[in-house]
Amino acid sequence: MLIILTIAIAIFLVGIALALYNSSGAAQLDLSGPRFQSVQKQAAQGDDFNGFPSSGELDQGAFNQFRTEYDKQTKKVTDVDSFSGDVMSDQALSIDPPAGE
């Protein structure tokens, strides 16, 4: 009886964990599945940038330091036009209506 109860509780908790995994958006960030094997190594490992210090005087040097780091990090995202293009268009997938329709 105790074993059955333990198993039931375990299944229930696993169910909650799976629901949280899907609802929180973590599923979309998980590249550990077999379908993502080809791209796993391309996932960024993180910069060695520890962040701009949140305390201290704000002199010209601090402004310059922030500007340098801000431009460096933002260039990585603004140089890439993510999720753009017509890769999913009917023509690109060859599922557009036949010519003449």
Binding site: Q28, Q60, T78, F83, M88, S89, P97
Partner: protein, 180 residues
């Protein structure tokens, strides 16, 4: 009691009829697919699904890498700079507004990407040979969601520029005051 039941039945019938009529009108607005189009989808859909599979994988990698950078910009640059401005008793209100706009857009990006990925997963699960119309409709829906994610990316770039503009304005004001 009997009267209330009759009134309830009439009301339900009226509402149900109105709903069915609206569905019929909406269905008439959507053009039906021709047999030739359906045949074309059937003949190309396996290759299309293979392309979508590759896109799904590359988009997942893009989401992870770009997402990390977006988070870093917010938590390791904007937030600590805003705090330091406040600690130095400078006016951080415009910087805070710009960073709040960025954070809101980032939250929208996350949510919309999740919707897009779920739509893509549904599309890839459809047996396109047996259900070509459902596959086509699902691709259309997924494409629209991907476009929404792209618009979030564009807005995030704009917010990044806006924050930089506020930073430049603060710097100009700070050292202009010092020079005076």
């Amino acid at each position: 009691m009997k009267r209330s039941l009759i009134v309830f039945a009439i009301l339900t019938a009226t509402l149900g009829g109105a709903f069915l009529w609206q569905q019929k009108v909406q269905a008439q607005d959507v053009p039906l697919m021709t047999e030739a189009h359906i045949a074309k989808i059937r003949s190309n859909c396996v290759e299309a699904q293979s392309t979508l599979n590759q896109l799904h994988t590359s988009d997942a990698l893009l989401r992870v890498n770009q997402g990390q950078l977006y988070e870093l910009i917010s938590t390791k640059l904007m937030a600590p700079f805003n705090a330091r401005v406040a600690l130095n008793k400078m006016d951080a209100s415009k910087l805070l507004t710009a960073s709040n706009n960025y954070d809101q857009e980032l939250a929208a990006f996350r949510a919309n990407y999740k919707l897009y990925e779920e739509a893509m997963s549904r599309t890839l699960k459809i047996n396109c040979l047996n259900e070509p119309v459902a596959f086509y409709d699902s691709v259309t829906e997924t494409r629209a969601k991907r476009k929404t994610v792209h618009s979030n990316v564009v807005n995030l770039s704009t917010d990044i520029q806006d924050y930089k503009a506020e930073f430049n304005a603060l710097e100009a004001n700070t050292f202009k005051e010092s020079a005076e």
